[in-house]
């Protein structure tokens, strides 16, 4: 046996011993070894709020989503743009349980498999959704709309005896002020303007206190001033919540991204480009998709 071979063998034995020593339950990432994962609560220790992998949805042969993969980090504000029919709303449907994808994975945090939960469960673990068309309870007052959205026991029997606590009333008051509907609290929601209904629905999302907010065209039908105020509101939520904003209004996207945040462009059901807004807008493929129409 030559000295070379002996040295080589010793090195390999040492490397093996070191690998064994480093081996932990979390696959070598030391920090997570003693961390408990709570049942029913999303686990954000890896910094990922939403993880979509190869999601495919087809309606009668038409692929609304085609191997869509997307990762949204905790506290991130991610804007998603794309031409009509790019699959933006279908993507939200998949995340919130309205549509079951034909293939792919969707995780909230690193432990919760969204494809195994119903709509109401997904909402309860902390994903709030605003619809493209403002959807509020038209015959109830603004106050009652917010009251129903309040994070609380959602079961039928509990709601029968439910009374608002002082802290909950304060919370409703806060949100009413935040969405500028303080003076309209007793008005029937159906009588609000389109922009006010959008705000009310955003307010209802805030009452739910979700960890991830999905906002489908939140400023459609709003005046320029309302749009700016909405952008301010969303920027104030960034960091505390993760936000996914689908929007056509480029001015609004510019306001939200502040020149440095990531924008995702969807096209024909998959990600066409991802990067800063300026880079994405300069991307040849993106220009072609938008101008080609």
């Amino acid at each position: 046996m030559t000295p070379d071979l002996m040295e080589e063998g010793a090195r390999r034995m040492q490397a093996y011993a070191q690998r064994q020593a480093e081996r932990t339950a979390s696959g070598g990432r030391s920090a997570s070894f003693r961390r408990l994962v709570k049942v029913g609560e999303p686990d954000f220790a890896h910094g990922v709020a939403l993880y979509l992998e190869d999601i495919t949805v087809s309606f009668d042969g038409f692929k609304a989503l085609n191997n869509l993969s997307l990762t949204v980090n905790v506290g991130e504000l991610r804007c998603i743009i794309g031409p009509n029919g790019a699959g933006k709303t279908t993507m939200m449907d998949c995340i919130t349980g309205k549509t079951r994808p034909d293939a792919g994975k969707a995780f909230f945090g690193s432990t919760i498999d969204l494809l195994r939960l119903a709509e109401a469960d997904i909402a309860q673990i902390g994903i709030g959704r605003k619809f493209q068309k403002p959807t509020v309870y038209e015959d109830l007052s603004v106050f009652e709309n917010l009251e129903l959205a309040l994070a609380d026991d959602r079961r039928a029997r509990a709601s029968l005896w439910s009374r608002l606590s002082g802290a909950q009333l304060d919370r409703i008051g806060e949100v009413l002020t935040l969405i500028h509907l303080r003076d309209d609290a007793q008005r029937t929601a159906g009588l609000l303007s389109h922009g006010q209904k959008q705000w009310l629905e955003i307010g209802m999302l805030l009452m739910q206190d979700p960890k991830l907010l999905l906002l489908d065209e939140p400023v459609a039908g709003m005046t320029d001033e309302e749009t700016e105020r909405t952008a301010e509101l969303f920027l104030s939520l960034e960091g505390k919540h993760s936000l996914v904003v689908v929007e056509h209004d480029m001015k609004f996207v510019e306001l939200l991204t502040q020149g440095h945040k990531t924008v995702t462009v969807l096209h024909e059901g998959s990600v066409l480009a991802e990067g800063k807004l300026a880079d994405v807008q300069a991307n040849d493929k993106v220009v072609e998709v938008y101008l080609g129409r």
């Binding site: 709030g128 619809f131 015959d139 109830l140 129903l148 039928a156 709601s159 009333l169 409703i172």
Partner: protein, 375 residues
Amino acid sequence: MDMSAVASAPLELQQRRGLLLGAAGWTAVIAVVLIITVGIPVLNLVVPADSVFHVSDYTVSLAGKILCYAICALAMDLIWGYTGILSLGHGLFFALGGYAMGMYLMRQIGRDGQYKADMPDFMVFLNWKQYPWHWTFSDSFVFQVLMVVLVPGLLAFVFGWFAFRSRIKGVYFSIITQAMTFAAMLLFFRNETGFGGNNGFTDFKRILGIPVTTPQMRVTLFAISGCVLVAFYLMARAIVHSKYGRVLQAIRDAESRVMFTGYDPVAYKLSIWTLSAVMCAIAGALYVPQVGIINPSEMSPAASIEIAIWTAVGGRATLIGPIVGAFFVNGAKSWFTAAFPEFWLYFLGALFIAVTLFLPNGIIGLLRKKREARL
């Protein structure tokens, strides 16, 4: 902004909402209960028949019947007016409650029937030697009263569980309920089902050993029906003024929003649906001893549609509306069928069209609009 000012107005609203009725409301409720339990019985039994204040037997029995209809309309309002689920099969629950009570009344006839036999006449006629299995405990009042609640309640629960879990909504749900009551009607028409076939049950003699056709019993049943209606009204009011009731209205206005807010609409729909069915069943049980007959025609689709008409005419999503509607439509019906018998159905159709076109919120909606305009 001062935080206490922020919360003060909603707090006030919340306190107001905590009360079931105001002082005027409770006074009205007590007045109505007194009229039902003391006023009408005295005017019917004590005041002589030639006095202008005398309330005739005909009026008492008609009003007693309409009180049962009003309970149905109230039940329909909870499921249709507040939750937005139009049932066209509530007549089935009404009839099942009526049949459960009718079975007991049939057993109470004893040997006073046409055939002077131990068993009810229709069973003797069919040459049955022993009671079918579902008649085993029918001579027990307590058991049959339990069946009044349990059978329709269980049927509604099972039907609702499958329908709501499968997310059957809107017109599809209405059609299925209509089909359900129609199927039940065909089933009850068969003699072999053991409920007297197309003749149903009639010729009742006693209830709890007391003769059922006396004026005293008529007034008693009227008063019980009235009190049950008032109790159900108060219960419905408590329900729609709770958060549970607001979730029901939210389901009516935007069910998807309710789901994406984290509520499971199935539990809410199923509970109010079952409650509504049980209310109808109790109305049916009160109805049968008063009119003295129950047969499968109560399960006909038209009977169920009529309940929806009373509710719509009175005003959906107003609790008093359906009660007013039941009295208005049925009062008009008893007058019309006496004065112009051949035109009643035309009138009913015209009424429904008029309400749909001109009074989306019914009679009560119209009155409220008038009052608001005056203020």
